[in-house]
Structure formats: structure tokens, C-alpha cells
């Protein structure tokens, strides 16, 4: 018995709140720049139409997160280490390429978020992005992001404001309820792409690596997992609830007015019923802090995972000469992310959207790795997946691959 179990078993209901509290905050902040923009665009462009997807995706998301956490608790190892030990070098190389691509794409989106937020304050991206790159890099190398983390988390939880804004906007709740349960598809490329992006931002591949390594680092054992899993599950559900409110708000405020979200300023207008003139400032603060936080966490996640897979030395307390690849990797991801945004003439919102579509397309392949591992009795013992877990996860995999194939086909044939 370790200290955490002793503490947790002692006080029932309060312990549960203590456990799920951080999960909810983390999840609301987990809606990073890619998430905010994707949900905003979905609401503004298609109204309530996409809400049913959010409902369908919530169990999948919770289940995938739970699987990742369970793998960490049972094996005490990260996802990439398990991939390496189960599949060998070649598939690992592929998986790590996927992770790096997903991660780099999202990091680019985070810098796009920083640039967009600062533009709302009237600062040019040529000034804000280089400074942000240096700040983020310093946060990472000095390991001080853990200190700043809480501040950023608190600031980015302003997105909870969407919940209030949704009520103030007085949506037609009947229509909202119907949209949640009645599936509707618009047969255009844009809609399919957005659906993939919605999946990619909700069940982001890098998040599975992060959840698992968090569980491993905390030293959570299988016994403790019984309670800790609720943290992960509740966090996942909370994140999706907030995402739904973002869609409802933008669908109520922006969609009827015919406003297409092509810039952060337009996305911010959805908060006008709540914050009035301060909508832009509120939106910008949330976007900025969520983006900075994610821009520090993402490259680090990739770096840790890849080094774990290939047995390279890693850790923030290792110098450049001790762990050149570890330090090089996150530096490379941060620099690339910032450099791409500095290219002139980019539309920041499209960058954020595209990165999430990339995430969505890569997701099924990493999920396949996860499914094989989590169902391997030699690795998971009696903690292999139950039937419901497998059903939801495989459905997600099949649906996303089908959507990707559909999008490819439509693009090639010029339909929609």
C-alpha cells in the first residue's frame, strides 16, 4: 500500500471530488487552439448539425483515454515503449513518425493560436511568434512550465465562459436536443474534412501518449487505477461537454448571422452575448494561455515518447551532450511550429483546422497499435479490454478510416 491509496481510501466522497477536480480543469484547458477553432467553425458553418457527432464521440474518447491510462497502470511503461516491445523496430518507427507528424501539426496550430490571440491585442505575428517560441522553449528547458502550468490552466479555463454564453444566447433548446440524437450528414468535402478534424481534435493521438505517461510517472498501480480511472473518464466527458457548448454558442450567435469563422476575431464574437465589448479580450486570453501551455507540453510529449521507444537518454535534467536527441527533438518541434507560422500570407484559422484534420487521419493507425496491445494477454494479463471497449474503439477506427477514404475519393473525383 502506498501513501496515495491510504489517503484515498480513507475519505470517500471528498476524495472522489479531489480526484476528479483536477481532471475537469485539465480537460477544459485541453480544448487548445485547434479545438476552439474546430468547434467554432463547426458551429458557425453548420449550426447544430454536428452535435450528434460529439455525442457519439464522447464514449469513444472516454474509452480510448481509459485504455491508455490502464496500459500505463498495468505495465508501468509508456505507450511508445509498449509499441516497441510488442511490434519491434519497424512498426515503431512508423508509429513514431505518425506521432511526430501529429505533434508537429498540432504545435503549428498552437503557434497559430498564439499569433491569432496576439493579433486581437494588435500585436503583429512577426513579433509575437518569435517571442512566444523563445518563451515556450525556456519554459520547457528550465522545467518551469510546471510552475506556470497552473496559472495557464486557470486562465484557459475562461473557456468555461462558453457554458454561460450558450445560455445567454438563448438557443432553441428543442432544436439542440434534436440535433444531438438525429444524425445528419452534409455530403460535401468541407463537411467530411471537418468531421475528421472534429475527431482528431477530440481524440487527439498525442493525448493518449500524454495520459499514459502521466499515469506511469505518478507510479499509479493497478489497484489505484480503480479510482484514478474516474479522473480520466470524467475529464474526458467534461472536455466534450465544454466542446458541445462552444458549438452551441457559435451555432446560436454566428450561424444565423451568416458569419463564417475565418479569423479569431469572428470566433470571439460568439462570446459577445456574455462579455459584450470584452468578448475579444476574453477569447484572446483563453486562446493565448491554452496555446502556450499546449505548445510547451506537446513537443515534450513527442520527445519523451520517441526517446523511450528507441532507448535514447531523456529527461529535462540531462544536458545537451548527455541527451542530444531528446533536447534536439523538442527544440526542433518548437522551432518548426514557430517557423511555419512566420511564413507570410497564412490564414491562421485554416492552419488550426488543417492540423486537426491531420490528427484525425493519423488517429486510427495509432489506435490500431493500442487495440492490439491492450488486448494482448501477455502484456495486460486479466486487464485486457472488455467487449464494449473493443466495440467502441474498433467502430471509431473503422469510421475514421472510412471518412478519410471518403474524403480522398471525393477530392479525387471532384465531388462536393
Amino acid at each position: 500500500m502506498t501513501s496515495t491509496t491510504e489517503k484515498r481510501t480513507k475519505t470517500g466522497i471528498f476524495a472522489l471530488f479531489a480526484v476528479i477536480g483536477p481532471g475537469i480543469i485539465a480537460a477544459s484547458a485541453g480544448n487548445d487552439s485547434g479545438g476552439i477553432s474546430t468547434y467554432s467553425v463547426a458551429g458557425a458553418k453548420y449550426g447544430y448539425t454536428m452535435l450528434w457527432m460529439m455525442l457519439a464521440m464522447t464514449p469513444s474518447f472516454a474509452i480510448v483515454q481509459e485504455m491508455a491510462g490502464r496500459m500505463g497502470a498495468v505495465t508501468g511503461k509508456g505507450f511508445s515503449a509498449l509499441i516497441r516491445e510488442r511490434f519491434g523496430v519497424r512498426p515503431t518507427f512508423l508509429a513514431m513518425l505518425l506521432l511526430l507528424a501529429s505533434n508537429a501539426a498540432t504545435t503549428i496550430a498552437e503557434f497559430a493560436g498564439i499569433a491569432a490571440a496576439m493579433q486581437l491585442f494588435g500585436v503583429s505575428k512577426y513579433l509575437s511568434v518569435p517571442i512566444a517560441a523563445v518563451v515556450v522553449w525556456l519554459l520547457v528547458v528550465r522545467g518551469s512550465y510546471r510552475n506556470v502550468e497552473k496559472v495557464l490552466l486557470a486562465l484557459s479555463s475562461v473557456f468555461i465562459a462558453y457554458v454561460v454564453a450558450a445560455f445567454l444566447a438563448k438557443p432553441d433548446w428543442g432544436a439542440v436536443a434534436v440535433s444531438f440524437v438525429v444524425p445528419k450528414i452534409v455530403p460535401t468535402q468541407a463537411f467530411i474534412a471537418l468531421a475528421i478534424g472534429l475527431t482528431g481534435t477530440t481524440i487527439a493521438p498525442w493525448m493518449q501518449f500524454l495520459v499514459q505517461s502521466n499515469i506511469v510517472d505518478k507510479g499509479t498501480t493497478v489497484k489505484e487505477w480503480a479510482l484514478a480511472r474516474w479522473d480520466v473518464i470524467v475529464g474526458a466527458i467534461a472536455a466534450n461537454v465544454i466542446a458541445c457548448f462552444i458549438i452551441i454558442t457559435t451555432a446560436t450567435v454566428l450561424h444565423p448571422a451568416g458569419i463564417q469563422v475565418t479569423s479569431a476575431g469572428e470566433a470571439a464574437r460568439a462570446l459577445a452575448p456574455l462579455a459584450g465589448h470584452y468578448a475579444e479580450a476574453l477569447f484572446a486570453i483563453g486562446l493565448l494561455s491554452a496555446s502556450v501551455l499546449a505548445a510547451a507540453v506537446l513537443p515534450l510529449t513527442a520527445s519523451y515518447a520517441i526517446c523511450e521507444a528507441f532507448g535514447w537518454e531523456s529527461g529535462l535534467d540531462r544536458s545537451w551532450s548527455e541527451a542530444p536527441l531528446f533536447n534536439g527533438l523538442y527544440t526542433f518541434v518548437i522551432l518548426t511550429g514557430a517557423a511555419v507560422i512566420l511564413l507570410p500570407g497564412l490564414n491562421l484559422i485554416s492552419i488550426m483546422l488543417v492540423s486537426q484534420v491531420v490528427n484525425g487521419m493519423l488517429l486510427p493507425f495509432l489506435l490500431i497499435f493500442m487495440m492490439i496491445i491492450v488486448n494482448d494477454r501477455k502484456i495486460m494479463g486479466r486487464h485486457v479490454n472488455g467487449r464494449i471497449n473493443n466495440l467502441f474503439a474498433w467502430t471509431t477506427i473503422v469510421v475514421v478510416i472510412a471518412l478519410t477514404a471518403l474524403l480522398l475519393g471525393m477530392t479525387l473525383l471532384g465531388i462536393g
Binding site: M1, E6, K7, A81, G88, R142, V216
Partner: protein, 613 residues
């Protein structure tokens, strides 16, 4: 030479030339330094696994296949023996501890050598080479060829069997070779180094192998940040047993870092005496003499004879942390003096302690700063220093190992203060660069401020940064020439130095010119580059002009630095002090002025060119 990754999947052919399966694994006997391959595992039709003795049935092995010496019907299958392990299952892709390099690594491949049909394991390949080969052998060859172009080799990182310890599979029941070095047989400090690289679950596994006294030593050697975690993760009973064995001062440090509940639980489980010692230490403030001292002091009374003291040492005092100094106290524990072990050994057994005691003892007050204590100890070369309260009552001693830790810790902290950088993060090199180039930061802030007037100024100021950096570099060279003025023969003749600088200048000009051209082509959609107040200028000419401006500025700087160095040498020769600041600043001014001058000339000339061209 064979590599396991290349052997797996190769066909297994029987004496009749018929393929009966594909290699899936090989087993080795673990008892040797270079273990023999003892069994061959292969997958037959429909993936049925088989295993057979290598010695009995394998007649030949080459890059293509394994050939057996009998036909399929004559094969007798076997099972994995208790002292055998499977290379692909137990080693390949797994994490192992390199007990020689004290690192945790992952096995990318296994290298085997063949002699008379006998395969032996040479070692585990843990370097980049194995990864490349694993992805595709062609990739390895390509990397090798590319590196050879640069005169480098692709190194092979091999760890021999006797320097491996496996983390995952519990091999405690497997008899390893006599020379085998297991993790838990290493020095506690080395074990601690390895443990810090592992995840909590893996750490817990290792601790299962360590006995309590090894575990206590290892935990003492861990970085502070890990200590409380490790103790916290152990079971309470085991944790309290280990804490009992540790020196009370170390134990108090760890318990002080634990959450209150856990700390109390552990103290309750510990023996009365040990927990008392720890509790009394917990009352002292951190970073003071009281915080780092141990209460285990060897005290003697003034009235004892030398023989009595020696008997006392052999008896109850034998377990104390330090016995090099014996402290003489009265019945109320007031410190009266000190005798050293040396005094004791060279004295006649009948001598009274009172006759050899030294009265002037160097002591520390319990509230003294730990750094002062350590400084004093190193100044007087003390192995231990007594700690007293305001009434001169002896409370404990600070031993030399704790003092060393303090010095290490404080120097790290001082570095932190000086550079604003945690020494642990290990990027001191980069930070030194940043702090040395502080003017760059000031410069860029100024540049941004100036940019408020016009964006052209910003571009110009930022462009001049490179020149200023070069000026600073040349200044430091010039200064080092002045400082090492006596090494006349090592000095390069002026013309060669100048030629070198000229070459560097031209090179820089070329690079900057190319970059400018690239930017001009990429950014500007118009046929030329917009120059404020003039209009459009042709891209090519602009690039050449920018390159020339840089090249000429560097040349002029080089000339100036030669002159300034001469002047500085002359001044230094007359016995005056040369201010590095003045040299640097004057070179920077020369650099800035020449850069601005050349830029102005270019600004005037380029537009006229565009008219001509």
C-alpha cells in the same frame, strides 16, 4: 557475424532440402561469458511453434538459411530449459541496464558470431546502427556511406552479456555466468544513478532485489527529489526498516519531505531509539548545522583511561557514523574537549583522557548556516565537527560526507543565482552564451523601439546585429592577443590574419547575399524589392549589394581590430591597464559606422543601377 534481426524469419531447411519452417527465436545458455546458442525455435506450417536442440540437429548456418542434419521425421523436439533465455522474446526491443556504462538502454539488435557451427552471443547492439538496420538494412548501409564521406564511422554500440541486467523478466532463478554483473551487485552510488533513469514501477522492481542495507545506502545516494518518492512507494514496513538502518540525519531529511500522515506512520513503525533520534533532528531548521548533523556522537568522560575508551569504542560506539574524533563531555553533556583516534592509538593504555584532551575545540552553533559549517570544516580539514547549543551542550556532529554534499549543493545554488539558471537543467553552456550576449537583448529591444519610427530602421538595426557580434568576437581575439603578448612565436603574421578575416568576410557576404536573394524572391510578389523613398530595386542587385555591404564591413573591422590590438599592446607594454570594455565598444562603433556607411552607399548606388539595367 550474424545479427538476430536478420536471422529471424529465415527458412529452416532439413537434410532433404525441404523447408520445414521459419526461425522465430534462439535460446542461449546463460552461464557463460559469451553464451552458446543452445536451441532453435521456429514456426512450422500454420505457425505451430517448435523448438529443437542446436547442438544435435543444426548442421550449418549461413546468411540465407539454417540447415538441419536430419530429415523432418527424425527431429526430436525439446523445451526451454530453466537456465536458458530466448533472445528475441527476452532481450530484443527490451530495456536493459548497461551495468558498465550505468545507463538504461534498449536492445536494438543482438550480435552473434559463428565458429564450427557453434553460434555465440557477442553482445547487445544498443546504438543508432541497430535501429537503422531494424528499419531497413539498406538504411544502415546508406548512413555508413554518407558518414564515410565525412570521414566518420557509424559506431557499433555493443554491450557484452556479462554487463547486462534485465529489467523486465525476472531472471533471479536463472543461473548467470560467474563474471556476470547484476545491477544489485554494484556500488550503491551507481545503482542510484541507474534508478534515476527508471520509471517508478521499474524502480520498485529493482528494490525488491536489494536487501535492506543496500536499499538504505542506495536511497542515501539518490538525488533529493527522488528520495521521498522512493520511500513513499515502498511498503510502510519495509520503508521503516530501511529508514532505521540509514544515518539518522539522512533519514530525517527524507521524512521531512514526506506528507505528514505518511511520516508519522513510518516513525511509529520505527524502533523507539531510531525514531527518537530522527524526531529530535526534525526539530532543527533546514540548512543549518542542526539540520545536517547526526546525533550519533561518540562521547567519553574526562576520567576514563585510554584503555577504557578503546573498550567503549569496540562495544557500544562501534556503530556510530564517525569515530575519528571522540568528544569529552561532563555529566550534563557540556563539551569540554576533543581527542582524536590518533591521540588514542599512540597513547599509553593507562593514560587518563584528561591528560591528552585538546580544550580548544572548533564548534558550530546549532543555528549556524550549513554553508559556513562546511567552509570551516574544509578550512581546518576536519573529518567531523561538533554542534553545540547556546550552553555549549553537545547536540551532535556534522560529518565530512554531509559537508561535501552541502558544498556541492551550495555551489550549484550560487551558479543558479549568478546565471539565473538551475544548474541541474544542464544547459549551462547555452545560458553562459545568453548572459555573455546580454547586450544583444538590449540591442534588440532598442531596435524594436526604433522600429516604431519606421520599419526600415528595424531591418537595418537587426541587420547590423551580425556585424556587432563579429566586432565583439574580434575584440575578444584582440584582447587575448594582448593578454598573451609574451607568446610571441605563436602569433600569426598580420597579413595571414588579415587574409583569414577577408576570407571569412567574403564567405559571410556570400551567405547573407544568398539569404537576402532567397527572402527577396519569396516575400516580394512584385518584380523587385521595395526600398523606402526610392521605389523598386532589382532583386539580384539588391542581394549582391547586401552581400557586399557585409563583406566590406567585416574587412574594415578586421583592419580596425589589427590596429586597435597594436595600440592596446603598446599601452599594455607601458604598464597601463587595458580596458576590455573600451576595446570592445570601440570595435563595435567601427563596425556599426562602417556598416551604416556601406549600407548608405549601397542605398545610393543600387537604384541608379536599376535605371541602367
Amino acid at each position: 557475424m550474424f545479427y538476430l534481426t536478420r536471422m529471424l524469419g529465415r527458412p529452416v531447411v532439413d537434410a532433404a532440402g525441404e523447408t520445414i519452417g521459419r526461425i522465430s527465436d534462439v535460446a542461449i545458455a546463460t552461464r557463460e561469458v559469451f553464451p552458446r546458442v543452445t536451441s532453435l525455435a521456429f514456426l512450422g506450417p500454420e505457425k505451430t511453434p517448435f523448438m529443437l536442440s542446436w547442438r544435435k540437429f543444426v548442421s550449418a548456418i549461413d546468411d540465407e538459411r539454417v540447415t538441419l542434419n536430419v530429415t523432418r521425421d527424425a527431429l526430436r523436439f525439446s523445451y526451454l530449459q530453466p537456465d536458458e533465455i530466448l533472445l528475441a522474446r527476452d532481450l530484443l526491443n527490451q530495456q536493459i541496464v548497461d551495468t558498465q556504462g550505468m545507463k538504461v538502454v534498449r536492445v536494438n539488435d543482438l550480435k552473434l558470431s559463428e565458429s564450427r557451427n557453434q553460434l555465440r552471443l557477442l553482445g547487445a547492439e544498443v546504438g543508432i546502427r541497430g535501429i537503422l538496420r531494424g528499419i531497413h538494412p539498406a538504411l544502415e548501409r546508406m548512413a555508413e556511406r554518407i558518414l564515410r564521406l565525412f570521414g566518420a564511422e557509424l559506431p557499433e554500440d555493443l554491450i557484452a552479456w556479462n554487463y547486462m541486467d534485465l529489467l523486465d523478466r525476472d531472471l533471479s532463478h536463472v543461473q548467470l555466468s560467474v563474471t556476470h554483473k547484476r545491477l544489485h551487485e554494484l556500488h550503491p552510488a551507481d545503482i542510484a544513478d541507474v534508478l534515476e533513469q527508471l520509471s517508478p514501477a521499474q524502480r520498485a522492481k529493482i528494490f525488491e532485489h536489494l536487501d535492506n542495507s543496500q536499499a538504505a545506502d542506495t536511497i542515501s545516494e539518490l538525488e533529493d527529489a527522488f528520495q521521498a518518492d522512493v520511500i513513499g512507494d515502498l511498503g510502510s514496513q519495509r520503508a521503516s526498516d530501511i529508514l532505521e538502518i540509514m544515518d539518522p540525519d539522512d533519514a530525517a531529511d527524507i521524512i521531512g519531505d514526506l506528507p505528514y500522515d505518511k511520516a508519522e506512520a513510518l516513525l511509529h513503525l520505527m524502533g523507539v531509539e531510531e525514531s527518537g533520534a530522527v524526531r529530535s533532528l526534525l526539530g532543527y531548521r533546514e540548512k543549518t548545522a542542526g539540520g545536517i548533523m547526526t546525533p550519533e556522537v561518540t562521547t567519553v568522560a574526562a576520567g576514563m583511561t585510554v584503555q577504557q575508551v578503546i573498550d567503549h569504542l569496540r562495544g557500544e560506539a562501534a556503530e556510530n557514523e564517525s569515530i575519528y574524533y571522540l568528544y569529552v563531555t561532563d555529566e550534563d553533556d557540556h563539551l569540554d574537549g576533543v581527542i582524536s583516534l590518533r591521540d588514542l592509538v599512540v597513547s599509553d593504555p593507562e593514560t587518563l583522557v584528561a591528560d591528552i584532551v585538546k580544550k580548544d575545540v572548533i564548534t558550530a552553533y546549532v543555528e549556524d548556516d550549513q554553508e559556513d559549517v562546511a567552509e570551516t570544516m574544509s578550512k581546518y580539514d576536519l573529518l567531523a565537527m561538533p554542534v553545540v547549543d547556546e550552553n555549549n551542550k553537545l547536540l551532535g556532529i556534522v560529518t565530512v560526507d554531509d559537508a561535501l554534499d552541502v558544498l556541492e549543493e551550495e555551489s550549484a545554488e550560487d551558479l543558479e543565482l549568478a546565471t539565473g539558471q538551475r544548474a541541474k537543467a544542464g544547459i549551462t553552456g547555452i545560458w553562459r552564451w545568453v548572459s555573455r550576449n546580454g547586450w544583444l537583448v538590449v540591442w534588440s529591444i532598442l531596435a524594436v523601439a526604433a522600429a516604431a519610427t519606421s520599419s526600415a530602421t528595424l531591418v537595418l538595426l537587426l541587420a547590423a546585429t551580425v556585424i556587432l557580434r563579429i566586432a565583439e568576437d574580434m575584440a575578444s581575439h584582440a584582447l587575448s592577443r594582448v593578454i598573451e603578448a609574451e607568446d610571441e612565436e605563436e602569433k600569426l603574421p598580420a597579413w595571414r590574419r588579415f587574409a583569414g578575416d577577408a576570407l571569412a568576410g567574403v564567405g559571410l557576404g556570400l551567405i547573407v547575399g544568398l539569404v537576402t536573394a532567397a527572402i527577396a524572391w519569396l516575400v516580394s510578389s512584385e518584380p523587385g524589392v521595395g526600398i523606402p523613398g526610392v521605389g523598386l530595386a532589382p532583386r539580384f542587385e539588391v542581394a549582391v549589394a547586401v552581400g557586399l555591404v557585409y563583406a566590406l564591413s567585416v574587412l574594415l573591422l578586421s583592419l580596425a581590430s589589427t590596429v586597435i590590438a597594436r595600440v592596446a599592446e603598446r599601452i599594455a607594454g607601458r604598464g597601463h591597464r587595458v580596458s576590455g570594455m573600451v576595446v570592445t565598444v570601440s570595435l563595435m562603433v567601427v563596425g556599426a559606422v562602417s556598416f551604416a556607411g556601406f549600407a548608405y552607399i549601397a542605398y545610393k548606388i543600387v537604384p541608379t543601377l536599376s535605371v541602367v539595367g
